[in-house]
Amino acid sequence: MALLEIRNLTKHFFRLSALSRVSLSVEPGELLGLIGPNGSGKTTLFNCVTGVLRPSDGQVFFRGEDITGRNADAVYQRGIARTFQLIQLFPEMTVLENMLVSAQEKKGRLFARLLRREEVEETTRALALLEFLGIAGLKDGLASNLSYGQQKLLDFGMALMSEPQVILLDEPMAGVNPAMIKNLIGHILELNARGYTFVVIEHNMEVVMSLCRRIVVLSQGERIAEGTPAEIADNPLVLDAYFGR
């Protein structure tokens, strides 16, 4: 059974169709690439899956459960985490607090969260993750004081805090310096080897080719191709979509 299955997902903004009948499935342990020219609907797809936007039509199944149109917090609690193309942090909170917020809603009912039961365990896990990403030294600084690359790492770390089953990465390498890119690729591959499933939107083809064994291509809201990196690179439809006829 596919871990995440998207069936005929459609999203209209007024009369503009951002996604039309896109289907794809993500297998457990996979590292799936999602590419396509600007405006092809990649981020809209993420938004519809994670509950940030409500799809106009179609369904999303996660581990067999229909999660279409659920609120973002409910989707997250089921085990789908994501990062953002335009970094979204809590700027006036510390790096550690950003991490802790991202884990806290997994456990306990509303009033039980007033108690400090998981505080120690969560802090330990947050610090271990920050250590893994190499930004543990900044834990008490405000998120707004981080450099761009560090913010990307924190965004990534926050997605990991809930121990999700699928992580949707929206252009994790955009605007990140080459040394950091190598670093990030290493992190993603290591986590993938530990069993995390990823879907990655990425424009840097070198990165996509080195990360993913399977790639889905979107163009103008439609799915136009799917295959291994080599197949995609030779697909005339894909070349058309990127370079035009």
């Binding site: 917090d73 997250y76 994501r82 700027p91 510390t94 917020v101 600084g141």
Partner: protein
């Protein structure tokens, strides 16, 4: 090194508490009244700071929430119900109406939410003025009894001051507990970036409703303590003006800072009293002072303390970025 900051905070708290305990014995009746009023307002401002400063939900109806506490105590007191029971009922009523007012916050934001809450304050005021059989209408209710436990009575001004102080301590401790728990982090996350908060699992519905309800409950408690302090209540004490006064306390003190409400309540209550000597000019001076403070201290009076703290730290280590947890 955060330890120094915490040690300083502890010292400041101890000093403030000592001052609150010792000072009343040196004050005359009127000054004692002003100090009691400051404490009551601080409780209300703590509530508004939770709703607005931490969770980022604007509320212009804290005076209305306050009214539930005051009228519950006053009306039930007339029928011989003990003060504490009236207080609990008033706080519960305020909490319930806070929940109700939380619902619009799920739909609208910022100035739209301000309009909704503003409208609620006006409705409550009109109900208080027109439901004469229950509230006494424009004349209000007089002779609101102060609490008494058997032979131990809090009827004297000094005793009632300490009674308020005890409740204020409860409020401070509980607010501190809430704001440093996961709730506090969820509140701030919603204030900072609502969409991101929801994407990391924070339920906007739960926490927005709670931000309103808990803030309103504190306002209800402030209102309950307010009524016996004055001894009489009338709808004029629960107008929009009063709500805006609370807003001013929170903003002047420092939005989303734990110390903010105390400083704000102190300034907004005491400053007009100090300026009263200047005859008719005092309103102008007061207004001007508020405008200047807002212009030059947008982060509130707590911001000043931050500035002093940072400059004293930067002598030792210039790179220390002061991340203030709350």
């Amino acid at each position: 090194m955060p330890l120094g900051r915490w040690a300083l905070r502890g010292l400041a708290l101890a000093a403030a508490l000592a001052l609150c305990v010792v000072l009343p014995s040196t004050l005359d009746q009127y000054k004692l009244y002003v100090m009691s009023l400051t404490l009551v307002y601080a409780i209300l401002a703590i509530g508004l700071n939770l709703t607005l400063g931490y969770a980022g939900q604007i509320s212009l109806c804290h005076a209305a929430f306050m009214a539930f506490g005051s009228y519950a105590v006053a009306i039930l007191g007339q029928h011989g119900v003990p003060f504490e029971i009236g207080l609990v009922i008033g706080v519960t009523l305020a909490f319930g109406w806070g929940l109700v007012l939380g619902f619009p916050a799920l739909k609208v934001k910022h100035h739209y939410l301000a309009m909704v809450t503003l409208g609620f304050n006006i409705i409550v005021f009109l109900v208080l003025r027109n439901w004469e059989s229950l509230t006494g209408g424009s004349f209000g209710i007089s002779n609101v009894a102060r609490p008494a436990w058997g032979s131990l009575s809090f009827k004297s001004d000094r005793a009632y001051y300490f009674y308020i102080l005890a409740w204020a301590a409860v409020v401070v401790a509980s607010a501190y507990w809430i704001l440093t728990s996961r709730w506090g982090r969820a509140f701030r996350a919603i204030r900072e970036n609502e969409m991101r908060a929801e994407v990391v699992g924070v339920s906007l519905m739960n926490y927005k409703l709670m931000a309103f309800a808990v803030g309103a409950a504190y306002a209800g408690m402030g209102g309950a303590l307010f009524a016996p302090l004055l001894g009489y209540i009338d709808p004029g004490a629960y107008t929009l003006d009063r709500s805006i006064q609370f807003l001013m306390m929170v903003v002047l003190g420092g939005l989303g800072r734990f110390e903010g409400p105390f400083i704000g309540a102190l300034v907004v209550t005491v400053l007009p009293e100090v300026l009263r000597g200047s005859e008719g000019l005092y309103l102008i001076i007061y207004a001007l002072a508020v405008i200047l403070m807002m212009l030059f201290m947008p982060k509130g009076l707590v911001g000043l303390w931050d500035l002093a703290w940072r400059s004293s730290r930067s002598v030792i280590s210039p790179s220390t970025s002061s991340a203030s947890p709350r």
